[in-house]
């Protein structure tokens, strides 16, 4: 199998709080991979580790055979041209309008004439259905529109890898369906590799080719949606079915027992 990203024995911690311990996983090329898991398990951290924004305590992240964290600063920046990330908030530049936001990476990294850039931007905006909103400022957009505009910006330079950080949070069902279809069609038509971080299990399992469940510093399970749905592992069952009681703890870990604390 052809993997774009391979993570080996990765450990990471914020100060004393351990986020990952010896995590290994692969992201296959040209497929949609989902990272699922309860809130606070550092799924976003994983994306930032892949993007080289955070440095792991141990282990390696290989992007197309290149160790991301062994690169010099300029090399890392040129590697990042091959990936892109859709942030939870969209992270559009508030001082630019939608058109200029989408044009920003093109203007930064290419020397194309302005007419070509205009055509490229309008094509990307059309792909997310926002060609009519090109002149609006980010604060005039609704949450779903902002996320779609940010998506257009993420695909502006046709990256190889696109990472979606919680793209469905706080969206109404229609927007969610639109985004799902967009992720899927972009993946198929542009042939890019997608990583989706989410806890909307049932939705993402309809489009994902492969899924990992991350919980409590470890990868709990990984497999195709069918495999996960059939899994006998109680932790997987609890998460996929959304049961409130089970082996995955709901409470923030504490050293003092509840009885003693009272």
């Amino acid at each position: 199998m052809n993997n774009l990203v391979e993570i080996k024995d990765l450990s990471f911690s914020y100060g004393k709080r351990i986020i990952y311990e010896n995590v290994s996983l692969e992201i296959p090329k040209g497929k949609i991979t989902a990272f699922m898991g309860p809130s606070g398990t550092g799924k976003t951290t994983m994306l930032r580790l892949i993007g080289g924004q955070l440095v792991p305590d141990a282990g390696s992240v290989m992007f197309d055979g290149i160790n991301v964290h062994k690169l010099s600063r300029p090399d890392l920046y040129s590697l990042r041209r091959r990936m892109s990330m859709l942030f939870q908030s969209g992270a559009l530049f508030t001082d630019l309008n939608v058109f200029d936001n989408v044009a920003y990476p093109i203007r930064e990294h290419t020397k194309l004439p302005e007419e070509v850039i205009r055509d490229m931007v309008l094509m990307k905006l059309e792909a997310v259905g926002l060609r009519g909103a090109a002149g609006l400022m980010p604060h005039e957009l609704s949450g779903g529109m902002a996320r779609r505009a940010a998506l257009a910006r993420s695909i502006a330079l046709d990256p190889e890898l696109i990472m979606y950080d919680e793209p469905f949070t706080g969206q109404d069902p229609i927007t969610m369906a639109v985004l799902l279809r967009l992720i899927k069609t972009l993946n198929r038509t542009l042939g890019l590799t997608s990583v989706v971080v989410t806890h909307d299990v049932s939705e993402i399992l309809t489009i994902a080719d492969y899924a990992y469940i991350l919980a409590g510093t470890k990868v709990v399970a990984g497999g195709t949606p069918e495999e996960l749905k059939k899994s006998e592992d109680p932790r997987v069952r609890q998460f996929i079915k959304g049961e409130y009681d089970g082996p995955v703890p709901f409470n923030y870990p504490t050293e003092v027992s509840y009885l003693k604390d009272l």
Partner: protein, 259 residues
């Protein structure tokens, strides 16, 4: 026990300060060192000079005028007792050029532009704009921090020049046009005591040093803050407090060294 605790606290405070200074230096280093990208950065630079420089002109002109007028009024009442009104021009010009011009402009600049820069960059950080820039393979240090730094370093000395001239004319307005000091004596007394190199250049050097200090503190506080609303408001306050103190302290040091 209490003393031990105090020493420990002092130690950790010092450690945090030192590491902050280290981070600030690294930030400045990465934003300024490297191949310059004039084509991309120049429009940004113009825009930032507009934001930090042009938009500060009104406050600079108004405060310069009033400070000059007050100096003229106060100076006149003191000097008239010694029958030395002729030295009014000299007094106003010396006070403004050597001290008030660079210092007051830098303080106003820290309040007007420095705090705004901190808040702007902090907000960019809180809304993940800086992170998303990084992921677009655009270095936010080079593209966000550097143009703002240069804009501040260019704007503040220019603002100081404007402040100084307006202040001296404010003094002249009160002294000559209102209180009746002779026009010729006012200007010639000034010219005989102000030296181009000793006074005006010192004023320029001071304002460049203050510009670097204020803008560096403002940008670092914005870049390094905790991305929450409390963090932003704290960082904005810190910018004004730290840069004011730094300007006053540096003013003493520079005056002691240069005169």
């Amino acid at each position: 026990m209490f003393i031990l605790n105090l020493i420990l606290k002092l130690g950790s405070w010092g450690q945090r300060r030192l590491s902050a200074i280290g981070r600030a230096t690294i930030m400045l280093f990465y934003s300024l060192v490297g191949r310059p990208q004039f084509r991309k950065n120049f429009p940004q630079l113009i825009r930032q000079i507009y934001v930090v420089g042009v938009q500060s002109i009104s406050i600079i002109v108004v405060s310069g005028l009033f400070i000059g007028m007050v100096l003229g009024l106060q100076g006149f009442h003191v000097l008239v007792d010694f029958m030395a009104e002729g030295a009014l021009g000299q007094m106003v010009a010396l006070a403004i050029i050597r001290e008030l011009g660079p210092v007051v402009t830098a303080l106003l600049f820290a309040g007007r532009a420095g705090s705004a820069l901190t808040a702007e960059i902090g907000l960019k950080k809180a809304t993940e704009q800086l992170l998303s820039m990084e992921m677009m393979a655009v270095d936010p240090l080079r593209r966000v921090i550097a143009p703002r730094f240069w804009a501040g370093v260019i704007s503040l000395p220019l603002l100081t020049i404007i402040f100084t001239l307006v202040g001296i004319f404010g003094g002249k307005l009160v002294g000559v046009d209102w209180l009746g000091v002779d026009d010729g004596i006012f200007w010639s007394g000034m010219q005989s005591s102000i030296d181009f190199w000793d006074d005006l250049m010192m004023c320029a050097i001071k304002s460049v040093v203050f510009a670097i200090t204020v803008i560096w503190i403002a940008l670092f506080n914005g870049y390094d803050l905790v991305p929450t609303s409390v963090g932003i408001s704290k960082a904005t306050t810190n910018t004004v407090v730290q840069s004011s103190l730094a300007v006053l302290g540096l003013d003493f040091v520079l005056t002691a060294v240069m005169f």
